[in-house]
Amino acid sequence: MSVLTIVQAINKALTEEMGKDDSIVLLGEDIGVNGGVFRATEGLYQSFGPNRVIDTPLAESGIIGVAMGMSLYGLKPVAEIQFLDFIYPAFDLIVNELAKFRYRTGGQYPTHIVIRAPCGGGIKGGMYHSQSSESYFIHTAGLKVVMPSNPYDAKGLLVASIRDADPVIFLEPKRLYRSVKGEVPEGSYTVPIGNASVVAKGEDVSVFTYGAMVHVALEAAKKADEKGISVEVIDLRTLSPLDFEAIVDSVRKTGRAVVVHEAPRTLGFGAEISALISEKAFLHLEAPVTRVTGYDTPFHYSLEEVYLPSVGKVLNAIEKTAGF
């Protein structure tokens, strides 16, 4: 057990899994000698050499295409996309090939791949270093989508993703990389894909969120508590497949729900959660499901604090929902 940051936990997961399974290879831009621009792959090039920690030319379609070809052959590639904002040159390969390969080949060619990408705002990176585009991947059948919010989950979910037989988009909230620390066990453990986690128990309002917003929601919950509103905060952790039982269970209890995410509102994940709650817990609902989200604009550079959901905005929504 040691206290690690998220980026250290990710590094540990990669190091330990690569040590155990030599079919795991890493590919990405600047992940080798340089150790990754966020240092997630620090030391791995030195430990596993250039054949397993591969610095690629600057082409995301090459990274994903080549990783997919490797996986068809039997390897388990873990690709790093330097920023989620730069994944789109590979979008065709991800949506039309990666997500459909097992299906269209009648199960003959599964693609055992993890795509890691730092996501989200909060580092003053502007519209091309802050995007939260999980909706595109959640909407795509055949992909799994995972986003941890703390070091323990980061390691456990990454190990689970690496061992998962399906392609996993593993999103890392970059503003948490070094700002959140926590106990992380040495050695192997997994956090199962598909299970949400109740990070604060409560009775009056359920808040569903994930990634960096978990911490914003927890702070808002604390403030709401001071005002006499008991808030349950659920960290979804896995966005696809979704743990909708956990969502329904919580709403059955509280009758009120708020969804928080950084991604733009329209067709952000909040829309799906809201629709699911309507379908599965309609008679339990005592207030409209409220969304606190990024706005339907490109991510703003100098006003990022206005753009992002804040403790204040989440608290507002909790109060409004509780008082409905």
């Binding site: 379609s61 090459g62 295409g65 068809l72 052959y73 039309n96 080949t105």
Partner: protein
């Protein structure tokens, strides 16, 4: 820099004896049989589509030498990444005619479980990666598989087929660049059939030809007469040896012609003249190879008509069996999206089953 297109057998079926690979008779017959089977298959599938028994088909008439000759140069453990117009390579490798038809029909016996439209053949056990419709995506996959083989210490070579149209895609460039940087044992096999649907090659690219593009990657590039199966075999063999011995990738441009329509949905009279088609009929790769065999005393009228009868019967038999198979089950529609069916998909399967029952 490639300056000349390699040809071994000319249009009269005469071979250049200095270049002829002198394949044994049995091998020559195997190649010719595969070509004829492929043509018979094409003819029949086009007819079936016209009869409304199939939604869509893209024939390879005229291009048989290019893909059969190249696939023949590889070993069974080498991996093929087809585009979609390589029926002959599929047949040569051993995908059964019935399987080819089942896949086109999307029936329950289809190894793709009825999920793939048109020419999306492949077979894991034969090291053929199923083609898909998006043009060019197979090219980087072939590079990745080759890099994996190299990493594993296997001597496997991979070959990606693609058309002249596909050379315009970003994938072509990205894949050739990766392959050259990582010295991947990959053969990039361009079937330049002069058209991408209606767009002729000179509006697709402005370089002298496709082969010269190899220079952009410090790679060997070679042009071959794609209607001369022996020439195709020889250049591919050379590329295969280079790849297998660690010499890296090769770009091959096979000059051929799409003698038929792009697909059963296409009407080529809208965009090309009949004289052009006629001029290429003289270069028909099957006719040429038959003349070669005849010139060498290895083939005659009798063998020819027997072979055609056999091929057509085999295709008919495959069609009969494939058409007898039922559609896939509703359950199978929800399988293989993931290894395990997700809770949401289980619900949706129930919905599909209920809806089907209720009306």
């Amino acid at each position: 820099m490639p300056t000349e297109m390699l040809q071994i057998v000319n249009e009269e079926g005469k071979s250049d004896s200095k270049l002829d690979p002198d394949l044994p008779q049995s091998e020559l017959h195997k190649l010719y049989r595969t070509m004829v089977y492929t043509r018979a298959f094409d003819n029949r599938m086009i007819a079936m589509q016209r009869q409304g028994r199939m939604s869509f088909y893209a024939p390879c008439v005229g291009e048989e030498a290019a893909h059969i000759g190249s696939a023949y140069a590889l070993k069974p453990e080498d991996w093929l990444f087809p585009q979609y117009r390589e029926q002959g390579a599929m047949i040569l490798r051993g995908i059964s005619l019935e399987q080819l038809v089942s896949s086109l029909l999307g029936n329950r016996n289809d190894a793709n479980k009825g999920r793939s439209f048109a020419n999306a053949w492949g077979d894991r056990s034969l090291n053929i990666v199923h083609s898909s419709a998006p043009v060019g995506t197979q090219i980087p996959l072939a590079v990745g598989a080759a890099m994996a083989a190299k990493l594993r210490g296997d001597k496997t070579v991979t070959l990606a087929y693609f058309g002249d149209g596909a050379t315009s895609s970003g994938y072509f460039h990205v894949a050739l660049n990766f392959a050259s940087v990582f010295k991947a044992p990959t053969i990039f096999f361009c079937k330049n059939n002069q058209y991408a649907v209606s767009v002729p090659i000179h509006r697709q690219l402005a370089s002298k030809n496709v082969a010269v593009k190899a220079a952009a990657y410090g790679m060997e590039g070679v042009q071959v007469d794609g209607n001369d199966i022996l020439a195709v075999y020889c250049v591919t063999k050379e590329a295969e040896e280079r790849a297998r011995s660690g010499g890296g990738p090769t770009l091959i441009e096979a000059i051929t012609y799409r003698m038929g329509a792009h697909s059963t949905a296409d009407d080529p009279t809208r965009y090309r003249r009949q004289e052009e088609v006629e001029s290429w009929k003289k270069k028909d790769p099957i006719k040429r190879f038959r003349l070669y065999l005849e010139n060498r005393g290895l083939w005659g009228e009798k063998e020819e008509s027997d072979l055609w009868t056999e091929a057509e019967n085999m295709v008919s038999e495959a069609v009969r069996r494939a058409e007898a198979a039922p559609l896939p089950t509703v359950e199978s529609m929800f399988e293989d999206v993931y290894k395990e069916m997700s809770p949401a998909l289980k619900e949706q399967l129930q919905d599909a089953l209920t809806s089907r029952e209720s009306r």
